[in-house]
C-alpha cells in the first residue's frame, strides 16, 4: 500500500525529516509515535502534499505509483486521506456543501457518477450518526466555531464519507474525551478491510488501547528510531520517549524552527496587505486593522 523510503523533507532551510523509511502493507494499521516536534505532522503533510514542505530526498510509493509527483487533489482522489491535527476553519462555506463538493470532486476524478442531493443527504445522515454529530452542526460553516472535539469528529466524518484506502490520522486523538476517542477508534475500525490501511500518528498510547495496530514505529528527531509490535506502545507509555536509544541526530533548536515559521507567515501576510484606520479628533476608538488572509 505505502512505501516510504529514506524520505528527507525540509521547510525553509531546516531539514525536519532526515531519512524516514516505513512500509504499510495492504490491510494493516500502523502507528507512528514520537515526542513533540519529532516531525510527525511534517510526515503527514508531506504525504498529503502540503506546499511549503520540500522533499529533498527519498521516495514515497503508494499503490505502486510515485505519490510525491501527484497534486494534493489527485492523492485524495486516489484514496489518500489526512485527518488534520489542526483542522482549518472555512468561514462562509457550509459543511454540507464542503462535504458534497469534496465527494463529488473525487468521484468525478475517478470517472464515477456524481452523487445527487438525495443520495448524498442519506449518506451523510448515516455517517454522521456513527460519529455522533448533530445535523445542525453540518449546516454551519466548516469548523467555524466548532470546539476541538467537534473538529476532530468532523475529520472522522469526512473520512467515513470519502472512504479512503489510506487514512493518515495526525493526532486525531489528542485532547479528546473517552467518548470522542471511541468515535475515532470506531471510525477507523469501520473502514478496516483487506485493501485499506491506516497510519495513526499519536503522541499517546491511549488510542491504541481501542485500536490495536499491526506495527508501531517511533519517530524521533526526524527518523524512525524503533519499530515493533503493539507492545512497543505499552513500553513507551511506561518509560517515555526519553529512554529510547535514539541515534544521534543533528540538534535543531526549537527557536530555529520557530523563527522559520515566523518568516513564512510574514511572507504570506506581506502579499495581501494594508489598511489604515484614521481616527480623528474626539476620544475613544478601538481600531483593529489586520492584514494577511481575508475571511
Amino acid at each position: 500500500m505505502l512505501l516510504i523510503d529514506d524520505l528527507h523533507a525540509s521547510i525553509g532551510d531546516s531539514e525536519i525529516l532526515h531519512g524516514v523509511s516505513l512500509e504499510v502493507p495492504d490491510g494493516e494499521i500502523h502507528a507512528v509515535m514520537g515526542p513533540n516536534g519529532s516531525g510527525k505532522s511534517t510526515l503527514a503533510h508531506v504525504l498529503a502534499g502540503r506546499d511549503p514542505y520540500e522533499v529533498t530526498g527519498g521516495r514515497v510509493i503508494y499503490d505502486g505509483v510515485d505519490l510525491l509527483a501527484m497534486a494534493p487533489e489527485e492523492r485524495a482522489a486516489a484514496g489518500v486521506f489526512l485527518a488534520f491535527q489542526q483542522p482549518v476553519e472555512i468561514p462562509g462555506v457550509p459543511t454540507m456543501y464542503f462535504l458534497r463538493t469534496a465527494l463529488n470532486a473525487q468521484r468525478r476524478a475517478r470517472g464515477e457518477e456524481e452523487l445527487g442531493p438525495v443520495e448524498f443527504l442519506a449518506l451523510v445522515d448515516t455517517k454522521r450518526r456513527l460519529v455522533d454529530m448533530e445535523r445542525a452542526l453540518l449546516d454551519r460553516a466548516v469548523n467555524d466555531g466548532f470546539s476541538g472535539g467537534e473538529r476532530k469528529r468532523n475529520e472522522i466524518l469526512q473520512m467515513l464519507i470519502l472512504e479512503p484506502r489510506l487514512a493518515v490520522l495526525d493526532e486525531t486523538d489528542s485532547g479528546l474525551d473517552i467518548d470522542a476517542l471511541r468515535v475515532v477508534a470506531d471510525g477507523v475500525t469501520t473502514l478496516r478491510g483487506p485493501d485499506r490501511s491506516a497510519l495513526l500518528i499519536t503522541h499517546h498510547q491511549r488510542l491504541l488501547e481501542h485500536l490495536v495496530p499491526d506495527r508501531v514505529h517511533v519517530l524521533a528527531g526526524g527518523r524512525i528510531v524503533r519499530s515493533g509490535g503493539p507492545d512497543l506502545a505499552v513500553e513507551l507509555e511506561a518509560h517515555g520517549y526519553a529512554t529510547l536509544d535514539s541515534p544521534a541526530v543533528e540538534p535543531r533548536t526549537a527557536s530555529a524552527g520557530t523563527a522559520s515559521i515566523g518568516t513564512i507567515s510574514t511572507g504570506t501576510i506581506s502579499t495581501g496587505t494594508i489598511s489604515t484606520g484614521t481616527i480623528s479628533t474626539g476620544t475613544i476608538s478601538t481600531g483593529t486593522i489586520s492584514t494577511g488572509t481575508a475571511r
Partner: protein
C-alpha cells in the same frame, strides 16, 4: 422602436474638472415655478463649485474625467404622456419579486411597464412626480427642496437640476407592506444623450414598514451614465429594509446615493450588491437623527477587469442611544480597483452611541487593488465604537484543506471566494431577493453556495494569483 418625445437639453461639454461646468437651466415649461427655481439653484451650485476632483477628500480614488468626457445631455425619459416607448417589458429581466414593480427608464417612471397591482395596502401611494407636480398640495415641494443647496458634490446637485421625474412612495403611519416593492431603473442612451438622473423618494410614517428593492440595469447601446438619488425619510419607529442590486453594463458609469434620515426608534437596513459599471459608486449618507434609531449597512462589491467600485459611507450619530453597523466586503480580481471610504461621525451629545464599522477585502490578482479608509470621528462621551479593515488573499491553509479533500485547485479557490462573499449574501434573506442577488453575483463569476446542497460545483471564478496588495494611506 423609438419614441423619445422629450428633447434632451443640449449642454456644452465640460471644460475640465473643478471649475464651473456652464450647466444651463433646463427649460421645463410645464413645471411649477418652485421647481424651476430649485433647478436654477442647483445649477448655480454646480457652476459655483464644479465637479469634484481627486483632491476632494471623498473622491480621492475616483476620477470623473472619463465620465465628464461624455456629453452632459440627459437621455430622455418616458414620462407618462409619452406613449409607447423604446423599452418594452421584454428588455427587462423577468419579474422575480412579483408585484408591486415600478419601472423607471432614464429617470422617468413608465406606467405601462409598472405593475402596482392590488398588493399595496390602502393608503400607500406610489406616484410619479411628472404626473403629480401640478397638484397644489405642496408635498413634493417640501420633499424636493428640503436640502436644497446643501450638496456634498456636483452629482447630487445635478440630480436636483436634471431629474425628469421622481418616484415617490408614501407609506402612511402604521402601514405594513408585506411584499417587497421593486423599482427597476433602466439606463438607455438615446443618441448622444447618455446621462440619466433617477430620483426616488420614500417617506414612511410612524411605525410603517416596508421592503424596497432597487435594481439598476443598462440596456445595450452606448455606455450610459446613471446618476441616481434615493431619499429615505423614516418616521418614529418606522422600518425599511432596502436593497440595491447594481448590475449595470461594465462599460457604463453608475453613481447612486442613498440619503437616509431616521427619526426616533426607526430602523433602516440597506444592503448593496455591486457588480456592474466601469465606475460604480454607491454612496450612503445616513443621519441617525432620532434617539434610539438604528442602521445596518452591508455591501458586497465584486470588482473585475477594468472596473472601479467606490463605496463612500457616511453615518452620522446625531442623537443619543443610536446603533450603526457597517459591513462591507470586496472581492477584487484582475486589474479591478475597490474603495471603501467609511466615515463614522458621533456628534456632541450622541451619548450611548454603539457603532461598528468593518471592511474586508479579498484581492485575487497581482494587479487588483483596494483602498480602505475606515474613519471615526467621535465628539461624545460614553460611546462604544469599533472599526477595522482587512485586505488579504485567500487563506492558503483553507485552500490546502479543500485540495486535500479532492477539490481541484481552481474550484477550491472559487469555493473560498464564495465563502467570503456568503456572509453578505446571506443577509439578502432566503427568498426571491436572495435569488435575484445570487443570479447577479453568479453573472459576475461567483459560484453560489446553495444552502440546500443541490448545485453541482460549477466553477466560474478565474485563476488566482498571490495579491500584490492594496495601498496604505
Amino acid at each position: 422602436m423609438t419614441a423619445m418625445t422629450r428633447p434632451a437639453t443640449a449642454r456644452r461639454p465640460p471644460s475640465g474638472t473643478g471649475v464651473g461646468m456652464g450647466v444651463q437651466v433646463p427649460e421645463r415649461a410645464r413645471e411649477p415655478e418652485w421647481l424651476n427655481a430649485a433647478r436654477r439653484q442647483a445649477v448655480a451650485w454646480v457652476d459655483a463649485n464644479g465637479f469634484p476632483s481627486t483632491k476632494h477628500e471623498d473622491w480621492r480614488y475616483t476620477k470623473l474625467d472619463s465620465v465628464l468626457a461624455l456629453p452632459l445631455a440627459a437621455s430622455s425619459g418616458r414620462g407618462a404622456e409619452d406613449g409607447p416607448g423604446s423599452v418594452s417589458s421584454s428588455d427587462l429581466p423577468t419579474p422575480q419579486l412579483g408585484v408591486p414593480r415600478i419601472v423607471v427608464v432614464n429617470g422617468g417612471m413608465v406606467p405601462e411597464l409598472s405593475t402596482l397591482g392590488t398588493s399595496l395596502p390602502g393608503g400607500v401611494r406610489v406616484e410619479s412626480m411628472a404626473g403629480a407636480v401640478r397638484r397644489p398640495e405642496g408635498r413634493f415641494q417640501q420633499l424636493w427642496t428640503r436640502r436644497l443647496g446643501g450638496y456634498p458634490h456636483a452629482l447630487r446637485a445635478l440630480n436636483d437640476a436634471e431629474a425628469l421625474d421622481a418616484v415617490v412612495i408614501d407609506l402612511p403611519a402604521r402601514t405594513v407592506v408585506e411584499d417587497p416593492i421593486e423599482v427597476v431603473f433602466v439606463s438607455m442612451p438615446t443618441g448622444d444623450a447618455r446621462w440619466s438622473h433617477p430620483r426616488l423618494i420614500v417617506v414612511a410614517g410612524a411605525r410603517a414598514s416596508a421592503t424596497l428593492v432597487e435594481t439598476y440595469l443598462s440596456v445595450a447601446g452606448a455606455p450610459s451614465v446613471t446618476n441616481a438619488l434615493t431619499q429615505v425619510e423614516l418616521g418614529t419607529e418606522a422600518e425599511l429594509v432596502h436593497y440595491v442590486l447594481q448590475g449595470e453594463r461594465t462599460d457604463s458609469f453608475h453613481f447612486s446615493s442613498l440619503e437616509g434620515h431616521l427619526a426616533e426608534g426607526s430602523r433602516l437596513s440597506s444592503r448593496l450588491l455591486a457588480t456592474g459599471g466601469r465606475i460604480g459608486r454607491h454612496e450612503v449618507d445616513v443621519v441617525l437623527a432620532g434617539e434610539g434609531s438604528q442602521v445596518d449597512l452591508d455591501g458586497l462589491f465584486l470588482t473585475g477587469a477594468g472596473q472601479h467600485h467606490d463605496n463612500p459611507v457616511l453615518v452620522e450619530h446625531a442623537a443619543p442611544g443610536c446603533t450603526s453597523r457597517q459591513l462591507y466586503k470586496g472581492v477584487v480580481t484582475s486589474d479591478g480597483h475597490g474603495v471603501f471610504n467609511g466615515h463614522l461621525v458621533v456628534r456632541p451629545g450622541a451619548d450611548g452611541t454603539d457603532a461598528v464599522q468593518v471592511n474586508k477585502n479579498l484581492l485575487l490578482s497581482e494587479r487588483a487593488e483596494v483602498d480602505t479608509r475606515p474613519r471615526l470621528e467621535i465628539n461624545a462621551d460614553d460611546v462604544a465604537c469599533s472599526h477595522g479593515a482587512a485586505v488579504g488573499r485567500l487563506d492558503p491553509e483553507a485552500l490546502f484543506y479543500l485540495r486535500s479533500r479532492g477539490v481541484p485547485e481552481r474550484e477550491a479557490r472559487a469555493v473560498l471566494v464564495s465563502g467570503f462573499a456568503h456572509e453578505i449574501l446571506e443577509r439578502f434573506g432566503s427568498g426571491p431577493i436572495r435569488r435575484h442577488a445570487e443570479e447577479l453575483a453568479a453573472a459576475a463569476g461567483l459560484i453560489v453556495l446553495d444552502e440546500d446542497h443541490c448545485s453541482s460545483g460549477a466553477v466560474t471564478a478565474g485563476t488566482v494569483h498571490p495579491g500584490r496588495g492594496g495601498r496604505a494611506q
